[in-house]
């Protein structure tokens, strides 16, 4: 708890210091949004052991839902963000049966097929803008217009500062949720399901039910992050939700250390900021991160920050 508040305060302090630097704040927001999405993936993959190679797809479902609703309805934007998460969770239910009935490599195949399916679907569906995608209106929550710069007296800050505050808030909530989940009986049950389904079933753990819960909650977080990201960027297109992006999410999880929210936060920052700082590698990022993950799996499978033992007492 204290560590979390400190981290949040640090992020805020850095953002305030960089308050006039649009690009820096944009990057920081993207990191926070990706952290939120990876927290969702972590519940699925890191805890319940449900593989999901369609992370970017669920991110996209949230984004497209937000775009469609914001363009053609008067639903308040705060609700649209939540509906984006719910839509991703709902889309996940298409996969629930095949993912539950299969495990390991089969479940991987199912999510990969889903990722490729949706990518093509976004691309060929004219109502969703085809390959060009869709534009989103400005995000408004209550009286706050997110795309106006902040000017209070002599205090001036980029409009991205608002996005930082919002994404920090959501990421912090997501963080608190994941930490509590881990330190609960549900967390113990999920771990047991991941490690040994047969042992779990012998002791009454309803394997199917908890996999569904983990998969759905995870997709909700991913979709929520996707909706927020769509608003911030102001436009969405199928290219942003490719299979390669899904693999980047998975890479972040594996780099950080499966099951460790702190690890994935650090890894999100590295994976997102490194290509921006070193423009040379930007073009090579899929290749680079895939290669790094191979090395991690071969030589340090627990990731950079291995998950510590659960402490309930």
């Amino acid at each position: 708890m204290r560590k979390g508040l400190l981290a949040a305060a640090a992020v805020l302090a850095v953002s305030l210091a960089l308050r006039e630097d649009d690009f820096a704040l944009l990057l920081l927001t993207r990191v926070l949004i990706v952290i939120l999405a990876c927290l969702g993936l972590n519940v699925q993959f890191g805890y319940a052991g449900v593989v999901n190679f369609a992370g970017a797809t669920f991110f996209g479902v949230g984004g497209y839902t937000a775009a469609v609703l914001a363009r053609s309805t008067a639903v308040p934007h705060l609700f649209i963000l939540l509906i984006g998460g719910a839509a991703a969770a709902l889309a996940g239910t298409i996969l629930v049966v095949p993912v539950l009935r299969t495990r390991g490599h089969y479940a991987a195949l199912v999510t990969i097929a889903f990722a490729l399916l949706f990518r093509t679907f976004f691309e060929v569906n004219d109502a969703l803008g085809g390959p060009q995608g869709l534009k989103l209106p400005e995000l408004r929550i209550g009286p706050v217009h997110f795309n106006d710069a902040i000017e209070i007296g002599s205090f001036f800050a980029s409009f991205y500062l608002k996005y930082i505050v919002l994404s920090l808030l959501l990421a912090a909530l997501g963080f608190a949720f994941v930490l509590r989940l881990e330190r609960s009986f549900i967390g113990v049950a999920l771990d047991c399901i991941r490690l040994d389904e047969i042992a779990a079933a012998s002791f009454g753990v309803d394997v199917a039910r908890w996999k569904i819960v983990a998969f759905t909650l995870g997709n909700f977080l991913i979709g929520l992050a996707g909706a927020l990201s769509a608003f911030m960027v102001g436009f969405i297109a199928p290219d942003n939700y490719s299979f390669g992006e899904s693999l980047i999410f998975v890479s972040i999880l594996l780099l950080g250390g499966l099951g460790n929210p702190w690890g994935l936060s650090l890894a999100s920052a590295v994976v997102l900021l490194l290509p921006e700082k070193l423009q040379v590698i930007a073009e090579y990022r899929f290749l680079l991160f895939a290669a790094v993950v191979i090395l991690i799996l071969l030589f340090r499978p627990a990731g950079l920050l291995p998950r510590p033992l659960r402490r309930l007492t």
Partner: protein, 257 residues
């Protein structure tokens, strides 16, 4: 006195192979039954059918007078049947206490609200289970009871066996199924483990045990009655001293004559 567990004509086929055929078996409440037989004679299959991992192809199981045939492993556990496995199935990366929590699953609150939002009841249950776990493990090995927060991967084989038995016992089942607890242990260690289990049994009162075991000394010492399986069929039943003299058993099991 009525039997706690009653199996009638219990059968299980895998393709054409009859792993269990027409097994009739009764276990009295509070009894210790030994289940012996050569490798592949259907002992573990019996446990798997009993606990709902494999549906029976024929026959019926009554537990405390109630049919449990065809129920899922989860429901069978909730009704009071707990088991150990031949090959250790502890969750090694988790702490010992986490493993014991899994054993106590049916007594714990798994609602989202009390796990994520209002966690007072959760904390209370953690403390209570922790106290129970310490007390239980102390019967088996006092120093081990002080190491519950260490990862299960860090303790030696004998302690893993102990924790597996504790995981099965902590929910206070009525029927305990032990699948070859001696695997990977010395005879002395097994004897001690069995004595400790019997001690728990006497404390709990009413615990019934079915023990699959290859170590005949263990069977002789702790069981009151034995059932011998061969090719999925029951070939003998009785006290160990009796069946050890039965020629068919000696032939099938000990490979004599």
């Amino acid at each position: 006195m009525s039997a706690l567990l009653r199996c009638r004509d219990l059968s299980r086929a895998f393709g054409g192979l009859l792993a269990l055929e027409g097994l009739d078996l009764d276990v009295e409440e509070g009894g210790v039954l030994g289940l012996i037989g050569p490798n592949g004679s259907g002992k573990t299959t019996f446990f798997n059918v009993l606990t709902g991992f494999f549906p029976a192809t024929r026959g019926e199981v009554l537990f405390a007078g109630e049919p449990i045939t065809g129920l899922s492993p989860q429901v069978v556990y909730r009704k009071g049947v707990a088991r150990t496995f031949q090959r250790s199935r502890l969750c090694l990366p988790l702490s010992i206490f986490d493993n014991l929590l899994i054993g106590n699953h049916k007594h714990l609150d798994h609602r989202l609200w009390s796990n994520l939002v209002d966690r007072r009841a959760l904390r209370r249950q953690i403390e209570q289970t922790f106290a129970e776990a310490r007390e239980l493990v102390r019967i088996f090995d006092p120093p081990l009871a002080d190491r519950l927060l260490e990862p299960a991967s860090r303790i030696p084989m004998i302690d893993r066996r102990r924790i597996e038995v504790c995981r099965a016992l902590i929910s206070r089942p009525r029927l305990l199924l032990l699948d070859e607890p001696s695997a990977g242990m010395t005879q002395e260690e097994t004897m001690r483990l069995m004595d400790d289990i019997l001690q728990v049994k006497s404390r709990l009162g009413g615990l019934t045990i079915i023990l699959i075991e290859h170590e005949m000394t263990v069977i002789e010492r702790v069981t009151e009655r034995c059932v011998v399986l061969n090719y999925g069929r029951k070939i003998a039943e009785g006290a160990y001293a009796e069946i050890a003299r039965t020629p068919s058993v000696r032939e099938a099991y000990l490979g004599l004559e």
